[in-house]
Subunit: 331 residues, 2 copies
Amino acid sequence: MTSNLEDIARAAGVSKMTVSRVLRGGTGFSEGTRDRVMKVAERLGYVPNKLAAAFGSYQASTMIGMCVPRLTSGLFGHVLDGVDRALGRLGYQVMIGANNHSTEEEEAWVRQILSWRPAGLILSGRNHTAATVELLRQSPAPVVEIWDLTTSPIDMAVGFSHFDCGIEMGQFLARRGRRRAGYVGALARADVMGQARLDGFKAALAQSGHPLVDLEMLQDMPGFYAGYYGLETLLARSPRLDVVYFHNDEMAIGGLAYAQSQGIRVPQDLGIAGWGGMEAASILPKRLTTTVVPTTAIGKAAAEALIARLKGEPGQEVTVVPARLVPGETA
Amino acid sequence: MTSNLEDIARAAGVSKMTVSRVLRGGTGFSEGTRDRVMKVAERLGYVPNKLAAAFGSYQASTMIGMCVPRLTSGLFGHVLDGVDRALGRLGYQVMIGANNHSTEEEEAWVRQILSWRPAGLILSGRNHTAATVELLRQSPAPVVEIWDLTTSPIDMAVGFSHFDCGIEMGQFLARRGRRRAGYVGALARADVMGQARLDGFKAALAQSGHPLVDLEMLQDMPGFYAGYYGLETLLARSPRLDVVYFHNDEMAIGGLAYAQSQGIRVPQDLGIAGWGGMEAASILPKRLTTTVVPTTAIGKAAAEALIARLKGEPGQEVTVVPARLVPGETA
DNA sequence: CTGAAAGCGCTAACAC
DNA sequence: GTGTTAGCGCTTTCAG
C-alpha cells in the first residue's frame, strides 16, 4: 500500500534506522545521507505511520483528547481554537468528544480515548465519576480540567470560579438598586457550573438583604428559545421581578426578545443579565450586561499546561484565567 | 504500566487469542471462559490498546479525521455535533482540525492525519491542493467533502450549492423590488464558498436587469464587527443602496446594528440579508432574511456516507442536503 | 556516523 | 472451543 522506512532504506542504500533518524530530524548522519534519504522519501510519497511510532514507544504519541460539555455551545469553538492553535503548531492533533453534561458519558469517552494512549487530556469541569478519576490516575497522560477551578484537580486545572461569577453579578445588581431578582436556568442539576453560578448569585443576594425571589429551571438546551419561554414562564408566575439573571447569553438574548415583544422596557422595567460574553451580546441595540469568559485564553493556557508537562517541566497546578463582569445597558 | 491481553490470559488460564475474542465480543469460546476472562479483565482494570489493534490490522481503526474552515464559526459546532452523534454511537472518534481557509494548511493537516491511518476523512469545501488530492487518492480511507457540492468529488460529497444560494437570494430581493443592491463580504478570495454565493448573487441581479451596485470586501474574520464596519464603509461610498447581502448572519446582524445606530430604517430604507441561519438571527426584534443551512444534517449525512463505505456498501457519491431561503422582516 | 536485533500489543490465519 | 505462529512499522538499545 504505502511505503515504509524499509522501502526507503532499500532505495537509498542505508538502514531503516538511518532513515528513521533523518526523517525525525535528529542527528547522527551525514549531509549526503540526509539528502539522499529525503529525496527517496519524497519520491516514494512516504507517509509516516504514527500508529506504529506511538505503539512502539510510549513517548511518541502526539494525540491530545479533549472533552467538552456540548459541541454546539458557542463558547466551545473558541476554547478549541485556543487549544488547536497552541497544540497544532507543535505537531499535536486533537481528538474531540462531548459529554452532554453527563459524567457517565464522559467516563465512556475517557475509556475510548485512553485506549488510544493519548499524550494528554483536557476535560471540562470538575465533576467526574469515581471510575473516571481512577482511570485517569492509572494513566500516565497529564490531565487538565478546564472551566471550573477545583480545589484539588486530578492533575492540573485552568479556569475561574463560577460561584464567584454568580456572587459578582449578584452584588453588582444589588448595587444598581435591584431588589426583586429572578433567575432563568437550564439543564437543571446536570450543568454543575451553571448551578455554581446560581449558588453564588443566591448567596450574594441573600447577603444584600434582598434574596432571590423566584427561578425557572428548564430542562431544555440553554439556547435563545429557552430564554424566551423561560422568561415568559417566570414572569407569569412572578410579574413583579425587577431583574433576571440568565444561565447564559443566548438565553439572556432570548429573554430580551421576549421583553421586547411584550413592551417591557429594559432596563427600566426589567433588568437582564447574562453570562458568557458572546460576541453577539455586545452589539445588540442595547449591550448586554454579562460576564465575559476568556474562552480562547483558557484553551491556550490548557494547551500550554499540557505541553509543559510533556516537556518534563512541572507545570502549573492551577492556572487562573479570570472572567470579568462587563456592565452593559440591560441591567 | 497497564495490563494487556497476555496478563489477562495468564490470570484466566487461557491464551491471548481467547481473551481477544472474548473482549471483542466475537464467538468461539464457552460461557464459562467468557465469564472468567471478563472478570479478570475487570479486576486488572484492562484498557484496550487501539494503537496496537489499528496498527496490527488495517481494518481496525475507529478514527475519523474532520477538517473545517474555522473552529470559531458558529456553524461548525453543529456540523461536528451531527458527525459526532452519528459516529460516536458506533464507537468512532473524531480528530479535528482547521484549515483557516487555506488549502496549504489543509494539506499540512491531511498529512498529519493520514499518518494516523484514519478509517475515514471529512473535509470542508471542494478546494484542495493537487498534493492533497494525490495524498487522498493514495489513501484507502473514504473521503467526504462537505458544504459545497462538487461536480466530481474526490470520493463523496455532502452539501448544497453556494452559487445557487446566491442566485436564490438575488432573485428573491429583485422580486421584492430591490433595485440597488450591495454586498459586504470577508476573507476575500480565501473563502471560496462565500465567493460562490457572491457570484450567484451577481448573476441573478444582472439577469434581473439591476446589477450589483457596489461591494465591500474585508480581510477580517466574518464576525459582527466586520459586518458593522463593512456596512459603514459601503454606505459611505454608495449611500443610495436599497439592500445589502452579507457574507453571513453574524455580519448581517452587525450590519443591522449599524443601521440601527444611524437611524436607518430596516427594511424600509435598507434591506438586509444574511446567510447561515444562526439561531440568534431568528429571534432578533426583526427576524433576519437569510438562507438557513442544514448544519447538523450535513454532519449526519457525512458520517453516514462514511459508515456506509466502511461497511463495504457503495455509499452515495453526492448527497444533496438543501439549504433554504427563509424570508424574515429585514428584506 | 551507521547498523542489527528485539519488541511494543494486537489480530489474522491456520492448526488442533 | 481453543491455541500457535507470524508480523504490522516503528523506536530503543546496543554494537560497531
